[in-house]
Symmetry: C2
Subunit: 241 residues, 2 copies
Amino acid sequence: MENTPLARKLGAFVALSGTELAVLETLHKRRRTFVAGRDLFHQGQSGQAAYVLASGWAVSYKILQDGQRQIVDFQIPGDFLGLRSVLLHMSDHSIEPITDIEVTEVLATDLLDVFARTPRLATAVLWAASRDEAMVVEHLVNIGRRNAAERTAHFLLELGARLSLVGMGSKAGFACPLTQYLLGDALGLSSVHVNRVLRKLREKEMVTFRNGFVAFDSHNRLTEFAEFDPTYLDQVGPLLM
Amino acid sequence: MENTPLARKLGAFVALSGTELAVLETLHKRRRTFVAGRDLFHQGQSGQAAYVLASGWAVSYKILQDGQRQIVDFQIPGDFLGLRSVLLHMSDHSIEPITDIEVTEVLATDLLDVFARTPRLATAVLWAASRDEAMVVEHLVNIGRRNAAERTAHFLLELGARLSLVGMGSKAGFACPLTQYLLGDALGLSSVHVNRVLRKLREKEMVTFRNGFVAFDSHNRLTEFAEFDPTYLDQVGPLLM
DNA sequence: CGGAGGGTTGATTCCCCTCAAAATCAGTGG
DNA sequence: CCACTGATTTTGAGGGGAATCAACCCTCCG
């Protein structure tokens, strides 16, 4: 099972045959690295290539005219970067590496070629995109209807669950390169308020966010507090045989 | 060009051949109607069929344990209902008709069959899904980073633009069956506050929401006020020839 | 050692929520 | 035709959650 990141990603949705794996191999010609802080691409730009994150963290966001930023999601290893931009031929958001990252590049033209020749892969990508959308929807609910503390708790639990799926976290906690500024822009809060909320959650002994590490002091109580239901993240085995 | 709703929808993304159109014909066996207020399906349910809305309005939403509701989006003629639920074999949201609606049914198994035999249609559906996701992302930005007035203005402009694309609105306005409760649940506001905001926007002579009709008193000033940029909605002709 | 980025805390302000009560309207049935 | 009901809209009063503004701290690093 020592495969490319893309094969691992899509293998979660579709049981891939040998030939399909071979086709996937041809897809990502290049492995690239990007340094933290410099945009991979910027909103308004036309997207020529998508990437699959192999290591490191990235963030996708939109900037308003007055300079405010809303973070749509953070990307962790195994996630697509800029898939929507490639499909719509235009990027409606920006992506920036939070840490130095390694990615494999997937060219738009190659992707469409592969869809035409290997329909099951198109289905797999459609599933991956649907799962991404389910996450954005949950973020919408989170920001629209939960208060700052529940919102923050829910966010940390989601991140922990996602990281656990790729072996980078557990119910005990996970290493986390995010700043409180980034948290604020993701949760629709000011960084000052994020700080206060984190203190409250720490004092209640539910979760501790310090020194680049998130520790779930009581995963159970936190889950209950945030009404966190990870169903929308679950992907139990291939859906298409 | 007198086609089924689904063919019109996907034709916006891919130039469809005669055979592809024929395949699409076989997809929706049944035309169904639903009455206002009764859920099409409910979150947690496993999705067996998706629908394409032929007439009327619907709303997709999630309910929290304490009864609060967050509306994800409203669906107008031409939109998919429950596409994500079918693909992920599980509905993470509910859908309710706002008015009496007519839909065409698309069975999950048929859809996957068609993907296997007609890859270009899979690509078209992927595009449609990506466009839906772009809208949810914009809603996230709207709720996360705009105040109540800008948020409401942005929402009405988006709705107007979408309705214009299907011939149900213009820069002058559109017929709108939404209540202020629905607006509140979509915008993450209380219905009381929505009412106050609408009054302000009316007094500023930017937009008037009354008696089931939205009138853009000054589409230009409202667009500037809300920083509305419809790029994420645009779909100028087929992307794949 | 100076500067930048990030974290922490306090004081004040304000946007929006909650609670409450009328007013309006559509539909229903006597 | 009118009384009755329920849904929706409108307006007021008061309170609270989060933003803003402003310090000060720490650590890291060139």
